[in-house]
């Protein structure tokens, strides 16, 4: 009899816990790298990942906006050097939001770890080709592209590496 009562109390407690939840207006946050340091990374992502047939498509989980691909608003694809308009602050922000929202818990962990183990993030693994990626292997650990991304994750973006990566020709493999 005592066991039954204990069981029922336990069950009631378990139900109470299970049925309780966060308030309706609660939000699960993400600790992100500094958005103010993101534009050089955003330009690189637009250049290497954001073509309209890849992450410049609205059907991708990671959506990259910028003048080389998908535009926000009414502008058509094309940067200033192609008679268009350069990537806007809003487009950098849209790419930032898409990127940090992919794996918020993992992003938080990597950022809180000062960028240690960036390969925990799927987008880093895919870029490095260590995880299946339709676009293939795009960066090599330690090259300018990789440093551009991982330095941002670590809290101090290497603008020079980003600039060099942006200017580099498409590599012959």
């Amino acid at each position: 009899m005592t066991k039954r009562i204990a069981f029922l109390i336990g069950l009631a407690l378990a139900l109470a816990v299970a049925c309780g939840g966060p308030p309706d207006d609660a939000r699960v946050g993400v600790v992100t790298p500094d958005p103010a340091q993101f534009p050089p990374v955003s330009l690189l992502l637009d250049h290497r990942c954001g073509s309209l047939d890849c992450h410049g498509a609205r059907t991708r989980n990671l959506q990259v906006y910028g003048c080389e691909g998908l535009r926000l608003g009414t502008a058509t694809p094309g940067c200033r050097n192609a008679s268009g308009t350069d990537t806007t602050a809003e487009e950098h922000d849209a790419t930032f939001r898409s990127l940090v929202a992919l794996e918020p818990a993992v992003m938080t962990s990597v950022v809180q770890g000062k960028g240690q183990n960036p390969e925990l993030l799927t987008f880093v693994r895919k870029a490095r080709g260590t995880e299946s990626h339709k676009g293939g292997t795009l960066v090599t650990p330690g090259d300018d592209q990789d440093i551009c991304m991982t330095s941002w994750l670590a809290g101090a973006v290497d603008k020079n590496a980003c600039a060099r990566a942006l200017a580099a020709p498409v590599t012959a493999r």
Binding site: L52, L70, L72, T74, T76, P169, V170, T171
Partner: protein, 178 residues
């Protein structure tokens, strides 16, 4: 009971082999244009690899294909005799050996998969035409899709630059063009 089970299993296996997404894309292209025979000049402006990309229904598999038009105008005629130059990731634009194809009467060009299976990204894609001094060059790379028209469709918008063209205005065309 046993017969019904096996019949249902076979039906399920046949049904599961289809790709409804691909089928929908093929269906969305519609039927053939009246008066245009099936072949190299058909379905200009459509994403060629939807049918010719290996999933059918076309038997001929292409790796890169598209349509070039004379001008940027939405009603532009196609451009015949243009040379399309494409580099893949194994070739640097500076000193590399690109692949070339010439457009036919419908403005269509293609590379057969059996002749060339490019390594992505494709880059420094350009169109040249006799009488036009500078090539028209695509500034961005192609990451995964060999159909020009997957991205280059009309009307222009935030996700497309419109169809592929040689010159902006008819006045920029060399001599009298059709």
């Amino acid at each position: 009971m046993t017969r019904r089970f096996y019949f249902a299993a076979v039906l399920l296996a046949v049904w599961s082999c289809g790709d409804p997404v691909h089928d929908t894309r093929v269906d969305a292209l519609g039927g053939e244009k009246s008066g245009v025979p099936t072949g190299p000049t058909h379905r200009s402006g459509q994403p060629c690899l939807t049918c010719h990309g290996g999933q059918g229904p076309a038997d001929l598999e292409l790796s890169v294909a598209g349509t070039i038009y004379q001008t940027a105008a939405p009603d532009s005629p196609p451009l015949e005799g243009a040379t399309v130059t494409v580099f893949d990731a194994t070739q640097l634009a500076d000193g590399g050996a690109p692949r070339t194809a010439v457009t036919n009467a419908a403005g269509n060009f293609s590379f057969r998969r059996t002749e060339w299976a490019p390594v992505y990204p494709l880059h420094d894609i350009s169109v040249t035409f006799p009488g036009v001094a500078a090539p028209t060059t695509m500034h961005t790379t192609v990451g995964r899709d060999g159909s020009c028209a997957s991205c280059h469709v009309d009307p222009k918008g935030p996700a497309t630059h419109g169809h592929v063209y040689l010159v902006l205005e008819p006045a920029d065309l060399p001599g009298a063009m059709p």
